[in-house]
């Protein structure tokens, strides 16, 4: 068997196909949202869709290059790659500001954002580092080095400033969590100072990261919903406080988990798992109600400050104004949408939703295709993420697995924050929707990231360990 053939044969086709499908839908959406009657041709370079098509071509070309290079190179050269991306992040700080941030390198329209590529560099180095340590004997030094790898680009990105990408870098914490590099050693060091206590490990320390994130996400969603009243067209005069819907959703999720456990888990573990789910639900509901009633009980100026920070306030000049318009665009899509190229609120021409071709591209998509479209899109992302995790878990090499997880988590962050800001679940911080948003840097970095993963996966059998 020739090498090329084996590459194609061993490539993960479900992931590749879902990636291509995403690219096609994304391209169609850019064409629709930026459509200009004077230049209807999609190849028209003066229009955004023409440019996006060029970026798409470049991305696929880069992907092909990546796919042809021997996968070992990424592990070997992870340090130079990381240093190079850090170097670019430093360079970019000496460029003039564009839209209030020093984020662009390059000339005119063909500029790139180094922060997008720093994700890849960081992912590779983190994978390399974790693959070299024995997690069974992890210590404070391991935790600190891993954190330093993440923190260095984060600080540089914050200097630009680029809050969105900064937040995305916290996705690496989940990868560390999966690999067992947690903050437990730090917590143990603190706790074991107390006389008479000598813990080997703590549950809270071990699961510190997911717990922290659940707490943060639940709090933010509860806060955002606390001022809302849900109304139903088929139930007039009934107004449900938004907080109830949070608890109801939690309950629903717990129920799904319980049913899932009945089917999957062994009889022996079932009792314990059920207890965990019930306990988890009680704690989550408790936290949510604490946040809700705590917030309601706050004095108005304190409330104002939180509302302003989360962008819940109606401010015609503020960012929430965009979010409100974006939500109007999404919500007005209905079940089947308004039809392709019929987005009346969020098309670039109408300009009611600024950045509707970049950060808010979910808007025109949701407006045109309705819930039918958005549900399929969410499902597609879910499929992609689950697929990447399946790929990650079948790797023999730790490097490959860690890298695959970074791809999954970065993708997940972009998905969750970007769509969250279109549906009022996340504050407005500008990060692109992968494969959709207009712009070359994000398209290229996600494509390269994806092809490195596909390459590593296709050669997973070559790795002996």
């Amino acid at each position: 068997m020739r090498k090329g053939e084996s590459l194609v044969a061993h490539m993960d086709w479900p992931l590749f196909v879902s990636y291509i499908v995403m690219l096609i839908i994304g391209m169609a959406t850019v064409y629709s949202v930026a459509y200009n009657e004077d230049h209807p041709n999609i190849y028209e370079y003066s229009e955004k869709y023409g440019k996006q098509l060029v970026w798409l071509g470049i991305s696929l070309f880069l992907g092909l290059m990546v796919f042809l290079i021997d996968s070992d190179i990424y592990r070997k050269f992870s340090v130079p790659i990381y240093v190079f991306t850090l170097f670019l992040l430093v360079i970019v700080l000496f460029t003039p500001k564009i839209n209030g941030a020093r984020a662009w390198l390059g000339i005119g329209t063909m500029g790139v954002q180094p922060a997008e590529f720093a994700k890849i560099g960081t992912a590779l180095l983190l994978a390399r580092f974790i693959s070299t340590v024995n997690v069974k004997q992890q210590n404070i030094q391991t935790v600190l080095i891993a954190n330093a790898i993440i923190l260095m680009p984060m600080v540089l990105i914050l200097l630009q400033p680029d809050a969105g990408t900064f937040v995305v870098f916290t996705s690496f914490l989940f990868v560390m969590y999966r690999e067992g590099i947690t903050y437990d050693p730090l917590i143990l060091k603190l706790i074991n100072r107390i006389p008479g206590i000598r813990f080997k490990e703590t549950w809270v320390g071990g699961h510190f990261i997911p717990i922290l994130f659940v707490v943060i996400i639940l709090s933010v969603i509860t806060l955002l919903m606390s001022n809302e009243k849900l109304e139903f067209s088929f139930l007039p005069n009934v107004k449900v406080p938004g907080f109830y819907s949070v608890v109801a959703t939690l309950f629903l999720i717990s129920l799904i988990f319980l049913i899932f456990l009945r089917v999957v888990s062994a009889r022996r573990e079932r009792g314990r798992a059920t207890l965990v789910v019930i306990l988890g639900f009680s704690m989550a509901a408790g936290l949510s109600s604490m946040v809700n009633y705590g917030f309601q009980g706050l004095r108005s100026h304190q409330k104002d400050r939180i509302e302003l920070f989360l962008g819940m306030k109606e401010d015609p000049n503020g960012k929430d104004y965009n979010r409100n318009r974006a939500m109007a665009a999404v919500g007005s899509g209905g079940f089947l949408g308004k039809g392709y190229r019929e987005a009346s609120v969020s098309s670039v021409r109408s300009n009611h939703v600024p950045e509707s071709e970049t950060d808010f591209i979910f808007c025109p998509f949701a407006e045109e295709w309705g819930f039918a479209g958005t549900f399929i899109l969410v499902a597609l992302y879910m499929f992609m993420l689950v697929r990447i995790i399946i790929i990650a878990e079948r790797q023999r090499a730790v490097f490959n697995r860690v890298y695959a997880y970074t791809v999954a988590m970065i993708l997940f962050y972009h998905f969750a924050i970007n769509i969250g800001m279109n549906i009022g679940f996340a504050p407005v911080i500008g990060i692109p929707l992968p494969f959709f948003s207009y712009g070359g840097s994000s398209m290229m970095s996600f494509s390269v990231m994806m092809f490195i993963l596909l390459k590593l996966d296709s050669q997973r059998r070559d790795v002996l360990q």
Binding site: F174, Y177, R178, E179, G180, E201, G206, H207, P210, F213, I217, L230, E231, S233, T249, L252, I253, I256, F257, N324, R325, M327, A328, A329, V330, G331, S332, G333, G334, F335, G339, E342, S344, V345, R349, S350, N351, H352, A366, E367, G370, F371, T374, F375, V378, A379, Y381, M382, L385, V386, I389, E393, Y405, A408, M409, F412, I419, I423, G424, F425
Partner: protein
Amino acid sequence: MNLDARRYVILAFILMVGVIYASRLFYMQVVDDQWVLRAQEIAEKRWEISPPRGVLFDRTGKKIVSNRTYYNLMMVEDEIEDLDTAKFAKLIGWTREEVRNRFKEIVRGEGTYYNKNTHKRTPNYQKIRAYPFMKELTLEEVARIAPHLDNFKGFHEEITSMRSYPYANGANIVGYLSEVSQEEIDEDRFYKPGNNIGKAGLERFYEKELRGRKGIRYIVTSAMNNAIESYADGKYDTSALQGPPLKLGVDILLQAYGEKLLKGKRGCIVAIEPLTGEILALVSSPSYDPNLMIGKRNISMYYPKLLLDPSTPLLPRPLASEYPPGSTFKLLNSLIALQEGVITPEFGAPCNKSVVGCHNHASAGNLADAIKHSCNPYYYAVMRRIVQQNRKKSVFADAEVGLNRWVDYMKSFGLGRKLETDITGLRPGLIPDVAFYDKWYGHHRWAFSTIRSISIGQGEVMITPLQMANIAAIIANKGWYYTPHFVKSIGSKGPLPEYRRKHFAKIDTKHYDIIIEGMRRVVYEPGGTGRRALLKDIVICGKTGTVQNPHGEDHSTFLAFAPMDKPKIAIAVFIENAKGGGGLWAAPTASLMIEKYLNRKITEKDREKTIIDAVFSYMR
């Protein structure tokens, strides 16, 4: 520590977010309506296009109410934001100088207000009000300018469709338009502030037909408030539809002639085509030129004047003025008596002036001569027989039975109630009944002798000229009528259903011949009271009336139809406070109208001149 299990924590975390997002999207997009409304608020604009109103034609096809449509380019100074004068001037085809001067001209044109107390002069011009910058633009000019107006804040086009009346006649028939009131807007969502609505006459009665259907265009607008494209490719748009034309039974030339005849007098003429019930003319004098009541400016200028004019030109007298019918009423009492069988055509009665006054004539030996002479004592005798038929022992109870029967007949002639004519402002008149007299005199406290003045159409009886003309039509038809109406067709449809239904008076056909013969004698036999209505080649049947009036001279009235064998016109003339009886003024007026309508020319030039030239003292 089992690290492999952590994959499930991460998977659960990811899937949980996916489920939450999908449910949130379902709620936002499918369940919650607020975003749809918000989106419409943001991006959609509803443009209403008002069609021109339906036009009105007379029975000969002459356009008597039409539209003049034009556009004004309006300007609100307060809303103007950094106007590019050069660009704007280019758009409207003016020079920059002209544009600047026009602003000054508008301010100047509004004039100033001089306060006597403070000796200060302040301009009337207000920055927040809209003033026409360019007036009466053509459709082509508007099509060129309007699409670009979004770039010039503070300017907008305004469509104005105004009525115009090629014939300055029939103001009380057609009515007028005026701006809708807030109550009318609240009542009917069709109207927006500034819209016009019919306020009187046919304009009001046929408002729903005439206004047509508004066109609605849904436009997608941008953040700059520019129209981008039609919403959903115009799927929900509807085009404006003009109201259907109304064809009236009115003969505008006859109407104009009637108005000419009544110049200088207060009075009415109502002419009806007996076969169809179509109103040929409805003259109310004095009237006004309907062209005065066009547009806000004119209305605010002329309406108060017309309203306060002591000769009440706004009052549609033929519909709204209730007069005692006078001697014309004798025709109905004759018919009722014949139908009741209390007299025969050969019934005679002495002209006994000790009961009631009469003029000098030989006593009537039969009914036809009694009509000819309009003998008052004769009709007292007739009415006594109707009211006191000796059906009850008590004279009071007997009168009650008799009057009840009489009222029943009168109602069948369309009296004592509003006719369902297609116009507003109708009054019912009054036919006094038992309840009426019981209230007046007390139960069983009245009999014929108490109420006898109704025999000769005086006393409590009240009738409108329209009702009187309808009586002429009923007699001409020998017993039936269509409710008098103006509109004979609405677009391609006929009149309203109500006007296709025959109504019957409760009198047998055979009784009419003798009455009609009496009416002929009124005009054509020596001693007849309506000799001045005589025409040589048309046989007119008529009946005069002289209505006593405590406030001045008697009213002169005449009821007629012609020709005798095949009636084509039934007419009632009513001239207020005319010195001399019905024969002197109303009868010749009616004959001129009949001749004008049937022959289209006037042979009795002297008669015409006398009537037209007469100006009564109260009008001077």
